[in-house]
Amino acid sequence: MGGDHHFQASLSVERLTLARGQRTLFSNLSFEAAPGAFVELRGPNGVGKTTLLRAIAGFLRPASGRVAFAHIEEPALALHFLAHRDGLKAPLDARAHVRFWAGLLGGRSDAADTALARVGLHAIADLPARVLSQGQARRLSLARLLVAERPLWLLDEPASGLDTGGRALLAALIDEHRARGGVVIAAVHDDLGPGPTRAIELTP
């Protein structure tokens, strides 16, 4: 997985105000994430951590302010978005998922097996997602981060459902990604392991 490649992408959130319906979630949030940065988003449920990640991903338009990217041509093609839900289809097997992501997100399809091995699902790659445990399903969605090289990772509570081993894997993946200059922005409940370069406490 091209370990020598060094990402240069960075982003800055500039005076961002987000609203859900009529209600303002938070206003004038600013922060920067340079290559190698790991930004933790904290705060009570419903404060808008997920909404912030979705706004950075470009899925929704902010009420005001903007997200600026540097060394990125098309943000949608430079980011991975790992949502609460794993995005799995019950009847399809693990390998079919990883191959699909490789095709969809522009990764190499021969990376599929390497990615599955890395997240520890190689032995059960032919099992349908239906039978995977919560932790295994989460590991499978982590494999998505590996099949296509993208500098910006947006992770929404990535550790949920993971056991100790899974959390260690997640921490290692984040460390490796940062070592290559990748940016990680994660909404978290408790510490993921790697020390964040910046922790942002969102308040209403």
């Binding site: 949608a76 490789a102 522009g106």
Partner: protein, 217 residues
């Protein structure tokens, strides 16, 4: 290109693995076309007249069945967002999904139109035309169905809502589709049906993609 192919392949795999793909809608289609003669009587003359329109009504209703989960499943399980992160425009991704649905369900349904039309006393010479027009019509049904499915993707048990929304859009396709079987009008209706279907397949994905972007926002 590979993104579109990936979506197309996955949709096909999903259609054929979950719930047997075409089995439910085709079964419904055949069941409905069986019920209709039972209701209106086995009078051959009457069936010959009423047959082709009945086949079209049954096909339209069968097409409706496939729409409810089309985008709702993606919205619920979180895979919709992934479709925004690929190099292909969302409009084409939606078109690829529609094409897979057409191949998985639309084509088998059009083929099932042959035995249905025979049972309903349609002249044998018209069977190939019926199948061809059903295949074109299914493409049109799916094209407008994409819009209905996309705008109501967030609605739980939205099946009835989709039907209400989509049926007015089915009207022209149904009219020209059933008109194809009218021997007198051979040619004209098929041309008009194809035009309507082409419009639906062209415009449907654009509007559906716009709706999906709103759904994700």
């Amino acid at each position: 290109m590979s993104a579109l192919y990936a979506v197309f392949r996955r949709e096909l795999a999903l259609a054929w693995s979950a719930g047997g793909g075409a089995i439910a809608p085709v079964g419904f289609f055949l069941g409905a076309t069986t019920l209709l003669p039972l209701a209106i009587g086995a009078d051959h003359e009457l069936l010959r007249k009423a047959g082709p329109p009945l086949v079209w009504v049954a096909a339209a209703l069968a097409a409706l069945m496939t729409l409810e989960r089309l985008f709702q499943a993606d919205l619920e399980d979180g895979s919709l967002e992934q479709l925004f992160l690929c190099a292909a425009p969302l409009e084409l991704i939606v078109l690829a999904k529609g094409a897979a649905l057409w191949l998985a369900v639309g084509v088998p349904l059009a083929l099932a139109g042959a035995p249905a039309a025979i049972a309903l006393q349609a002249p044998t010479a018209l069977i190939p035309l019926t199948v061809a027009s059903l295949a074109v019509g299914m493409a049109g049904f799916i094209g407008v169905g994409l819009v209905g499915a996309a705008v109501s993707a967030g609605v739980r048990r939205g099946g009835v809502l989709i039907a209400l929304i989509v049926l007015p859009f089915f009207a022209p396709l149904l009219i020209f589709g059933a008109g194809v079987a009218d021997e007198v009008q051979a040619g004209g209706p098929f041309f008009l049906l194809s035009g309507c279907a082409l419009g639906a397949v062209g415009l449907g994905p654009i509007l559906a993609a716009a709706a999906l972007r709103i759904q994700a926002g």
